[in-house]
Chain length 401, copies 2
């Protein structure tokens, strides 16, 4: 497996475009992605009980058929909390895309991100979809990745190559994140494409598992949005023997490549977290189970007190231990050890004899690794998060107005 | 029931003192509270799995006997994550207090708040306890309330008078809060005293219920500390007929007065939340059950996105609805209504036709009421929280160093 520069159009048979249609003032706000042939589709959606219209509509679309040709995404407006009119608008985006690309309406997915509770400017969007259909290209992946951004400060995309039973295949993807990122999908959109041939059920299962170990392991502010989705299209143009079961030759390589791609996109989202000045990796080992390790890592990653301490480059290990204490898992505080990078700040039996200077040197870096060793079992998990800064408050105090 | 200026020494037979013993640089850091006679004691403690030494020791003390004469509290150092030596230090504080006041060691409780993971300066504390014992007085309640503060910016105390079956009784209390406040007890200390006569079991039950409806309904940053406790002493000197069951005449009045006192202290804690510029009351009505309403109100109160929007005086109702959507309860978004003060910002079926100007006038006030009507059942709950400001980050990025 190798990383490549590239994105969603890196695999064979995918084209894309991204342009400004007028939802935002000047930035790109509309993206199209198209597969030359029907592609098997897997998707995971927000667990929020107030799903946005495109989430509801896409679930309906995929219930009808898991074979998709095209995806249309707008940014700047989430089409969330928009009731019946929002549903009509989401369906109208699908119709306009189907018309522009001459595909069937059942073959189109729609996605939106941005402000909640405002109606989409449908005339601008319809015109934008027509224009975007006219400028699809192999090179359009980056423009599409740019068009799905909201408060993101950089484009998030990557491609990965691997070999399935001797046949080279490519996976590529783009994502947007920024605020409201939390496990269980947060205003986080991720779209992946591959030319591998894989049956829809297996693709769905593989995506779900990879999402659980990537996008569901990152957090910016603990909030979960109305619009999150992670979608993958597999058009089979690489020509590998169709993967239909986990025992098939090449499946392991595919699953690894997909997880790698998703983890890398996840980390990009965290690095670009609203107001983030530091990237923080939290690893918990020695929990009774992996599930317990996930709970502990999540509790640390979501603690405002831990995140502000890291912002202040303060080796406040007590807040980390207190956060684990709030995770609702069984563990022995006296057995627990905490490391900042390689510096042990807490040893068993509350032994503390670290140099503040050494710990601070770790915390002064842009990337901070925190390791919590519970020394109580085989369970482990890694979470990725960022610090909590004054800029986060600045951005979110005045997002809408 | 009537509120009175006063605090923990307002009821008959309680004296207190507060002084600087040297844990902090110059501010008061040691408090004593004493009852002239043994008092029935009720207590609730942090749910954090890493309880500080005084929490562990107090649980042991109360398991031996629920009758207590004295309480010693230090601020500036939490005596948390301090292992065996921390336990010894907590017990030594009890011994020193017992000696200074000539009471039995089983009659003393201890409490600490402040930095985690550092050993107490026991010599200073022992001297401080002796001095504090020498200056106990009826007027010392305020000094004690001052001595338990950490980043608090004002003293939190109040007294309440009521009549139990014709006998006037007084309840008084002091609290400290500031950061790390969340339901299930957070770095929050609350000590109450009353001259009412009430059996320990009934007192415990009544305290627990009142805490669930007050201190467990407030949140500053969603974190729960290692040291939280709420303790009440009832010395019976008012001379009412001992309350032993909920059917006893006067019990309802006592329970109401206690809940009133705890709610008022809770609100003071929120008003003084770290960096708080606004006090926010979140009421959820129309949930399927009270438990669901609590979940919904808590999700809104803990959402960084909601709290930053309020900080920015932005009528971002979409974030409120999204937070309810994350609460894990069943409800119909299309039936939901949201009010800022009296201004309906979201009506059923996502009808939005409010004036931004009107909503902003509500949000510009120091106290903001948010009402979420789910219109789906009889359940209701109220939570109190504050906004999330840049000052919160400032305070918490550099707390320890």
């Amino acid at each position: 497996m190798q990383e490549r520069t590239g994105g969603i159009t890196s695999p064979r048979g995918f084209r894309a475009s991204g342009l400004h249609c007028g939802i935002k003032k000047t930035k790109k706000d509309l993206a199209l992605v198209v597969s030359d042939v029907p592609a098997a589709c897997g998707a995971t959606f927000t667990q929020n009980r107030v799903p946005a219209a495109p989430v509801v509509v896409d679930r309906e679309q995929l219930a009808r058929s898991p074979f998709i040709r095209a995806l249309v995404v707008n940014s700047g407006n989430a089409n969330a909390c928009t009731g019946d009119r929002g549903m009509e608008d989401a369906r109208a985006m699908i119709s306009a895309t189907a018309r522009a690309l001459r595909v069937h309406e059942s073959e189109v997915l729609v996605s939106s991100t941005g402000v909640i509770g405002q109606f989409l400017p449908m005339q601008k969007i319809a015109q934008g979809i027509a224009s975007a259909g006219d400028c699809l290209s192999k090179e359009g992946g980056e423009a599409a990745a740019e068009a799905i951004m909201t408060t993101d400060t950089f484009v998030k995309q990557l491609a990965v190559e691997t070999t399935l039973n001797g046949v080279p295949v490519t996976l590529g993807g783009m994502a947007k994140g920024s605020g409201m990122i939390a496990p269980n999908m947060a205003t986080m959109l991720a779209f992946m494409a591959t030319d591998a041939a894989i049956a829809p059920e297996l693709l769905q299962k593989t995506l779900k598992r990879a999402v659980d170990r990537s996008f569901n392991r990152i957090t910016v502010d603990g909030d979960t949005s109305t619009n999150d989705m992670a979608v993958i299209f597999a058009n089979g143009l690489a020509g590998n023997l169709m993967l239909t079961g986990e025992a098939d030759p090449g499946f392991t390589e595919f699953a690894e490549a997909l997880e790698h791609l998703l983890v890398r996109l996840s980390k990009m989202i965290v690095v670009d977290g609203e107001g983030a000045t530091k990237f923080v990796e939290i690893t918990v080992v020695g929990a009774a189970s992996d599930a317990d390790a996930v709970k502990a890592a999540k509790a640390v990653a979501n603690s405002n007190l831990v995140k502000t301490a890291i912002n202040g480059e303060d080796a406040n290990w007590g807040r980390i231990l207190a956060a684990v204490g709030n995770a609702g898992i069984d563990f022995k505080p006296t057995e627990t050890e905490i490391y900042f990078g390689d510096v042990p700040v807490l040893r068993r039996n509350y032994r503390i004899d670290f140099s503040e200077e050494e710990a601070r040197r770790v915390l002064q870096k842009k990337e901070v690794a925190i390791r919590v060793q519970l020394n109580g079992g085989p369970g482990s998990a890694t979470f990725w998060t960022c610090d909590l800064s004054k800029e986060y408050v600045e951005i979110n105090a005045n997002y809408r107005t």
